[in-house]
Symmetry: C2
Subunit: 717 residues, 2 copies
């Protein structure tokens, strides 16, 4: 168990609230009522400048007047009072706080300064706090709820950490309708002190929480987040929505929690690296999170589909295929067992479609049991189990002809809800997901929800949620990477960079960049720098024709389209002409690089860019001419484990190019992995490097060789 500050914050024995009043429709009061009314057994105290009681409970003018030192201070006061009060709580020895108060970093420079002061006060007294600009927390285990909506006692399984308060609280009525129950939920606000990585760590350690969902507008400490996430995803599923990756998303996030967003593809790569399942909407975040929190591990990808209706069975089957699942045809033997329970000619091969049938026994119990006993599928999706919802529809039309009976009497005439239905998933220990067009007005919907069997109001959603289970089963199977040990810093590299700094260079020239790369084991083209035609001719003879010629100076960062490069030079005559052409374009004293001419049908790229909060990101992808056309790249945060780099190779659309391809041998993947790891390591060892761009990396037979390299240095070195 870590020293995570949320252990105490989420489990206080006493809470002091500042900012509630006896007006029960003000925000602070509404939050205080949640604390009082949802079953929390700890002590609650109020602070109020004048009133002696609030909601019938004793109120005190100042923290020092409280009868005990509360574990948690809960502040919903104006911004200046928040600072003063935090200080006062610090003085009496309170170590945890939730600051709901808004108006800090999210409002600009002045607010950011106030937020800094808040943190300084906290540091002075060893206080750790959530917020500011948040809604607080829910801990279902001790019935603690500080949000504006009621949270009735429940045995939740889903843990949420959210940079939006709305997604902790305003969404509660909708979650209730869906049967989704939090174990713990944390509204993080501006994360001045406790951040989303802390919350993830805490939820990862929490026994009650079976899956963690994260709503993210921007991560402040990327390294910490990634390190914690890697650990948590080995133990339990973590899902995330990230909305800061577009221009509008980033602007909205900035004005909401002052979040520092990063590009979408960076987060995409980082989530993959961490083993986090990314979703595209808040609805999916909850739906898939709840599925992963409640369902056992999916053992394979074979899904059985049960319906009483062909549309949903086709929609589910189609969607299963699209998310990597399969809907296998049942064996003849199994179909023979199923057929007696079907209409003649009804589909028995998977999906099983019972067609219109008002008895639910076959759909809900008999056939599922036969299928699950067979072992031919790893999970079931069922659409069409219904009772009171359906009967209500029928009743409204038939009532006149049923004799004078009430709906309740009509329900009694019908088949009762078959409660065995709800036991089947646990009995066979497989994932079981329900699709229905009825809400809780239908007794089956309600029953499934009460048994933590997820219910979706759309066939495709059930199939996609099953896809999330499959996704996590793949994450669990990932090989853990070997711990990265950074290589020793190369004196040659240090010298190169020192020299460049002395020269006030903004970049290294190609040849020098390659020397630096080679110092870390990156394979580069054989090449010789020539300062004269004579040297160039000698170099070409030494390297052997054909060669390439390139103007080589740090100020020349991009060579193509400017007559600074000549390829496929076959002989001395051509070399002479090319040399002079390049000199003419680049200037008479520009050195010329004479380079072995590599040829190979396959070109890749590797690169490095630094990102705020995450540090260096290493990119791998398709290189050469098609780089800009397909933008087929993937990114991971450095340092890369061997497993990280390995996954990058299969994460590009053009991954086929790395295999035996049109007569060309499989690329030496170990070597490519080493290049990617080296790029990350170089970035970590040499913070003065701003960017690395290796493009193309040409595959010579099987071996990747860097044919062009650019290393950009940080400004102001």
């Amino acid at each position: 168990m870590s020293e995570n500050p949320l252990h105490l914050l989420m489990n206080p024995k006493s809470v002091a609230v500042a900012g509630a009043s006896n007006t029960p429709t003000k925000m602070g009061s509404i939050q205080a009522l949640s604390l009082l009314k949802d079953g929390y057994q700890g002590k609650v105290y109020f602070l109020h400048p004048k009133d002696k009681t609030i909601f019938g409970i004793g109120a005190y003018p100042s923290p020092r007047d409280l009868p005990e030192v509360p574990d948690l201070a809960f502040l919903v006061v104006p911004i200046n009072a928040a600072l003063t009060l935090l200080e006062e709580f610090g003085r009496i020895g309170t170590k945890r706080a939730i600051v709901v108060t808004a108006g800090f970093k999210e409002t600009g420079a002045e607010g950011a300064n106030l937020e800094k002061q808040l943190n300084e006060v906290a540091a002075r007294y060893g206080i750790r706090f959530v917020g500011p600009n948040c809604l607080g927390i829910i801990n279902s285990q001790i019935c603690l709820n500080t949000t504006v909506y009621p949270f009735p006692p429940s045995d939740g399984l889903l843990g949420l950490a959210s940079q939006s308060g709305t997604y902790v609280t305003q969404i509660l009525p909708l979650s209730r309708k869906k049967g989704i129950k939090f174990s713990k939920a944390i509204s993080l606000g501006n994360e001045a002190n406790i951040d989303i990585a802390d919350a993830l760590e805490y939820l990862g350690e929490d026994e009650q929480t079976k899956a963690v969902i994260l709503y993210i507008e921007g991560i402040r400490n990327g390294k910490k987040f990634l390190e914690i996430a890697r650990k948590v995803t080995r133990r339990k599923p973590v899902l995330a929505q990230y909305v800061g990756g577009t221009v509008s998303g980033a602007r909205a996030g900035m004005s909401h929690t002052g979040a520092m967003a990063g590009p979408d593809f960076l987060y995409d790569g980082m989530f993959k690296q961490a083993g986090i399942i990314r979703v595209g909407s808040i609805e999916e975040l909850y739906d898939h999170g709840w599925t992963l929190a409640t369902q056992p591990m999916l053992r394979g990808n074979r899904i059985g589909v049960m319906t009483n209706s062909g549309g949903p069975s086709s929609s589910i089957s189609n969607t299963c295929d699209l998310v990597g699942l399969s809907v296998p045809r049942y064996s003849e033997k199994l179909q023979e067992q199923i057929r007696p329970y079907l209409q003649p000619h009804a589909a028995s091969s998977n999906p099983v479609d019972l067609t219109f049938d008002t008895s639910m026994k076959n759909l809900a119990i008999t056939i599922p049991e036969i299928i699950l006993k067979s072992g031919e599928v790893d999970a079931l999706i069922s659409h069409g189990i219904m009772h009171s919802g359906f009967l209500r529809e029928i009743y409204s039309h038939a009532v006149d002809f049923l004799g004078d009976i009430s709906f309740e009497q009509f329900l009694e005439m019908a088949e009762p809800v078959l409660t065995e239905t709800f036991e089947i998933p646990r009995k066979y220990n497989v994932p079981y997901l329900i699709s229905t067009f009825f809400g809780q007005e239908d007794y089956y919907t309600k029953g499934f929800q009460e048994h933590n069997i997820p219910v979706f109001h759309s066939p495709e959603k059930a199939a996609r949620a099953m896809g999330a289970l499959y996704h996590y089963s793949l994450i669990k199977k990932r090989k853990p990477g070997k711990k990265v040990t950074l290589p020793k810093i190369s004196p040659r590299a240090v010298n190169i960079l020192k020299q460049a700094r002395q020269n006030r260079q903004k970049a290294l020239d190609e040849h020098t960049a390659k020397r630096l790369l080679a110092a870390y084991g990156v394979p580069v083209t054989k090449e010789i720098l020539a300062k004269s035609l004579r040297e160039a001719l000698a170099a070409a003879s030494k390297l052997g024709y054909p060669v390439a010629l390139k103007a080589c100076h740090w100020e020349i960062m991009h060579k193509s389209g400017k007559s600074l490069i000549a390829l496929n030079i076959e002989n001395a005559t051509s070399l002479k002409k090319a040399f002079l052409d390049i000199r003419r374009a680049a200037g008479f004293f520009t050195p010329v690089l004479v380079q072995q001419m590599l040829s190979g049908g396959r070109e890749f790229l590797a690169g490095m860019t630094r990102f705020a909060a995450f540090g260096p990101g290493v990119v791998f992808g398709l290189g050469g001419v098609f780089t800009e056309v397909y933008r087929d790249t993937t990114i991971r945060v450095a340092p890369l484990t061997d497993a990280d780099a390995q996954e990058m190779l299969t994460d590009i659309r053009g991954k086929k190019l790395l295999d035996n391809f049109r007569g060309m041998p499989e690329v030496d993947k170990e070597k490519m992995i080493k290049i990617l790891q080296a790029v990350g390591n170089i970035a970590l060892l040499h913070p003065e490097i701003a960017e690395i761009d290796l493009n193309p990396i040409i595959i010579q037979k099987a071996r990747p060789v860097v044919a062009d390299a650019l290393i950009v240095l940080k400004n102001g070195l």
Copy 2:
């Protein structure tokens, strides 16, 4: 107005029902009750072998006993009775029928034969019918409902044609909760007679229907469908879900309606060609369909986002960007007008975030009006307008401290629902979509729905629905293509194919294939067929070095990797060697094609495959080495208009390659369009051609030239 058979079928003055009984829980009876109880004003008659009345209405033993000839026969009888009864209705002169009865084509060969007989009976009497294996129809205009669920009178706007009955009927309770109302709905079943194209035509002509949604498992007459769809989408939005494009989806569809599915990418291309908006789930089909049915045309892509909460505002903004919309920053002037209504420091730049505020006036009326008056956005998305849903939450906690008041009294104390809110969208005539986590328990949700303002229970869904509006605005802006006139059939092509047939060839050799293509104006490489080394040397001299050599015989369909091809031959010496190598590999008498060696950095492909129900599909995409790696292709159904072919060029991911690219000029797109059109035309003129594969089409400077061609002939010619 067309002679569409649904005009009468959907508007009968009288209906005769066969298959209902006085047991109100049987399927036929439930359907009959819908007919009786939902307000239909036409005459309803029953047929029954024994009973004299059904549900108190006169029943007759046979159609000939009916007091009048009903406009519509509705059959829910066993399969053999269906055949007999249809015949009897035919005899008395009934011209329309709905056959609910299942057990036909969807069950295999025997059922398919019965379905054929059904159609023969219909043809004999001039009957047009919907089904078999369907649930019938809903026509809200005349309160006609034959489905198993009630459909209360409503002024619907959305037309549905569905190959699943469930999506017409079982989904109704869910649609009601969402405020979605059908104008007309048709469950098509097996489409033995009236098909989805007829239904689309009918809904396209129907004045009440403002948008059409289609649920598709497989289209039986693709040409008819495409032709009708092209017309309808010019008048009103059409959306479709297609689920038959995967192995499992196709199998499920086959056993459901006997639908003949086709590959997903074919439908994808065909929908684009037709101007149909494709969706990925039944939920999106309804949600986006309802949005398009109710909202005015989106005039641009500038979206205003209004919330009282940062999470949804970030989620909406991010999703807007992802679907091609923009969330523009408001002008300083506009922000100044907005700020007085916001908390200090609250976001005013777009999104506007009011943060926690229990009064709805600013969020729902004041600020939207200011924004819409400014003209700075084309539409609004709003999250967080709430009333009774929210108050119910608050009340449950505050009740003890409010004095002894009921929830109703508490509601009265609160701000009333501001009904002006619902008038704003119409007043400014812009699309207006709502996100909220409350259902109809909230008065605002209910009010918006009653005013046909779509409500979504997720911020991202509202943004995606706005994306569908944007998508349709782009479809409306498409240039209509010129009508295609097929060229005159080429005598040379006819001769080539005749000869091949006489030789019992399965394909044309490359050279002959190119001669055929050239006869229709397709630019091909300059080349000469050589039967000897001497001829080859002469040919090379004539064409000029470098040349390519290829073994040329119809049995050699794929040349690469088999030593049957030699490229970049620079001189006579190399040619001799290459010629002999090829002869050694291909056989001594195999002719050798001597071809100008094209070089160009860009390679594309064009091709043709025939598809059941649709005929020839023309493919365009990235060619050469990367063909299999990126599978970057798009397809349209022949014949292609110039506009179809033009759209194909921009529909591939690698479209940048067609423009000025790395110093290469823009590809001559007119010429590429002509190649694509020619491929389609050749397929239509010469049905004996099974497949065409032109890969690569090399771009020489700007001009596309076919460098290799394969034409496969149909078997058994």
